[in-house]
């Protein structure tokens, strides 16, 4: 089992290279600390979110004969909403026209803009009818309220998340109200007739911007590993030690699998260390030891992806400095693309009839989603299994590409 000797060798080199180890472990902690201090309090201070509401709703007549304008109703509810156990209003609402709301957004006088469409009440009526079995006097209607905002503005995400949470609560509240009124009516599986077009992040008012960032920082640290590993793999070429190994009976599998063990453990360790630091800095961590174990496993899978990326980088870099530079050039944009620092606009592509977001092809986006699910929402294995599976499949594909490229360029006789 030559790969165990390679693993032990890599582990010893890792431990004895103090400067390298410092970079690997302390650099992400340093980043986490800076982000913790910078964003730790953001959104947590029970300060109202400034929003503009543009209400186009025409109202509707319900099956009960009642005429109702859900747009006006939701606007009033938003105005009256307070933080849990507090008298502080959650939103400062400005009712205005769309053009004025846009201009307020640009001036950052408001953090977000909620546009209630003209068919909002009709869609709510459809929703009620669908859920309660009541007949409706209008055609089935689907509406799309819009939450608009500046995606480069951090306050937008906090407001958007709070608004999204409230919209979901509002719909379920209305539905349960009607169901209670008509108790005993057979209820069909509810169909959603109100689709908010902005992706929700968190509906929990107590979440801060740092909660959103902390799992992102973990993924960033895991991704950063690829630059370090790529530099080490390239150094092995530069120092000639790889040539020595190539002359021996070592197989590509021994080298690559041997390297995989210590580095994936480092990725898992990074998740644990960074979680510890993040909790100290105020992360609203949900879950107990099991969530840490699950997060570590997710981190290890992400780490294997980083090792695969490192092999690809090391296939092209001529020296360790080039590997580090090339790594940074690749890792930083990937960190942004997976949404480690802020969510990206939705970009859908359609392949063979399947529509999906283009970012979903990057394995670490699923690492991040799974980490957020486990650490922030206390989700278990079942809830994040799909993300873990996707992450695993994409990592395996990336790893195969890495092994093929590295073996072809570095482990065969030179041409």
């Amino acid at each position: 089992m030559k790969f165990t000797s390679i693993a032990v060798k890599d582990f010893k080199e890792l431990i004895r290279d103090r400067r390298g180890l410092f970079f690997i472990l302390l650099f992400p902690i340093f980043f986490m600390t800076i982000f913790g201090f910078a964003f730790g309090g953001m959104g947590q201070d029970n300060t109202p979110h400034n929003i503009a509401v543009v209400n186009y709703d025409d109202g509707t007549t319900l099956a009960t004969g009642e005429t109702f304008n859900f747009g006006n109703n939701i606007t009033n509810e938003i105005k009256e909403l307070t933080y849990t156990n507090s008298d502080v209003k959650m939103f400062n609402v400005t009712e205005t026209s769309e053009s004025n709301a846009d201009s307020l957004l640009k001036q950052r006088t408001v953090d977000a803009e909620l546009i209630i469409p003209s068919n909002f009440s009709a869609s709510m009526a459809s929703q009620i009818a669908s859920s309660t079995g009541l007949p409706t006097n209008i055609n089935t209607t689907v509406s799309s309220p819009i939450i608009r905002g500046d995606e480069g503005y951090s306050n937008f995400f906090a407001s958007e998340s709070a608004l999204n949470g409230f919209l979901t609560e509002y719909q379920s509240g209305i539905l349960s109200n009607y169901k209670n009124q008509l108790a005993g009516t057979p209820v069909a599986e509810p169909v959603k007739y109100v689709n908010v077009t902005v992706q929700g992040i968190s509906g929990t008012q107590s979440f801060t911007q740092f909660d959103f960032l902390a799992p992102g920082m973990m993924v960033f640290a895991i991704l950063l590993l690829s630059t370090t590993i790529a530099a080490i793999l390239t150094r092995e070429v530069e120092s000639g030690t790889l040539e020595r190994l190539k002359m021996s009976k070592m197989r590509s599998f021994d080298l690559l699998f041997g390297g995989l063990i210590p580095w994936s453990l480092v990725a898992g360790a990074q998740v644990v260390i960074l979680l510890f630091v993040a909790v100290i800095l105020g992360l609203h961590w949900q879950g107990g030891i099991s969530s840490v174990i699950l997060a570590t496993i997710i981190g290890i899978i992400g780490g294997i992806g980083s090792i695969a990326l490192a092999m690809i980088l090391a296939s092209f870099a001529k020296n360790d400095r080039q590997a580090a530079n090339l790594g940074t050039l690749i890792v930083v944009p990937i960190s942004f693309l997976v949404g480690a620092f802020f969510p990206l606009p939705q970009v859908f592509v359609s392949v063979l009839g399947h529509t999906f977001q283009i970012y979903e092809l990057i394995p670490w986006i699923h690492t991040l989603d799974a980490l957020r699910g486990v650490l922030l929402y206390g989700e278990g294995l079942n809830a994040v299994a799909y993300q873990i599976e996707l992450s695993l499949v994409l990592t395996v594909i990336l790893f195969i590409i890495g092994v093929v490229l590295y073996s072809r360029t570095r482990l065969r006789a030179d041409n």
Binding site: S5, M247, S248
Partner: protein
Amino acid sequence: MDYMIETVDLTKKFDDLIAVDGLNIKIRKGEVFGFLGPNGAGKTTSIRMMVGLLKPTSGTILIDGTDIKKIEKGKIGICPQELMLWQHLTCKESLNLMADMYEVPKDIRNQRVDELLKDLFLTEKANTVVSNLSGGMKRRLNLALSVVHEPDIVVLDEPSEGLDPQSRRVLWNYIRSMRDVQGKTVILTTHLMDEADSLSDRIGIVDHGKLIRLDTPENLKKEIGEGDVVEIKLSDPSKNLELITEIKKIEDIISVIETDGRINIRALNAVSKLPKIMQFVEKIDLRVDDLSVRQNTLEDVFIDLTGTGLRE
């Protein structure tokens, strides 16, 4: 005659550059083969092909009668010119790692590692990390790592580079013992002519990718002429050519060339030619700043065959 390495029309091209041009060499089993040539002559390229690290453009390499592509890994050990060491491992860890990579059985691994450390005077540094070793120790470890699996062929690419005389002696003794005690075939490339002369059974000289001579050191020295070498440094080196023209007229002079501002005269019984040479020096109104008489060396052969022009 049994040959351990045989190259047939071995050629390597890098774009327009022909680094090795139809090389035909037969290296005998159990000999130390000196492989000499100026910088850029194609030595390292040839060696990298002979050990399987570089694919030839054309030609064949036979190792113990078998095509190099079919031989078992571990038959050849290479001690490269550059230090190829893991800086954060100790000497013992490095040797154990390579022994494992070559599948040396565990029951003999420890004994072999200990012997190597002892033979190359590294026992005291067995548990020292490589980055803390001196240059000479690193170079000895570099050699030890190449032979830990006891290969039949050992390729040493400029092994004495940067070594002090003491370390060089340790190395030379070890190379001799590899041939005399262990029966290994050793290929040695070096720029130190005394090293090649002292250690090699036969020497191949390559230049411009071609083998230009292959013989024993003694025969090579005889080939360019028996006798002595006189070296003269004139007070005014600009008149070297004038003196060379005069000296060439003397009977039994084998060759007269200018090397590094000195006049190098090869002749039978060179001492008897000195009065005549001094007459010429006086005739052109010069004086001699330095004069030496010595026997022919391998370096003279090398310069005679490959010239004095720089190759880099």
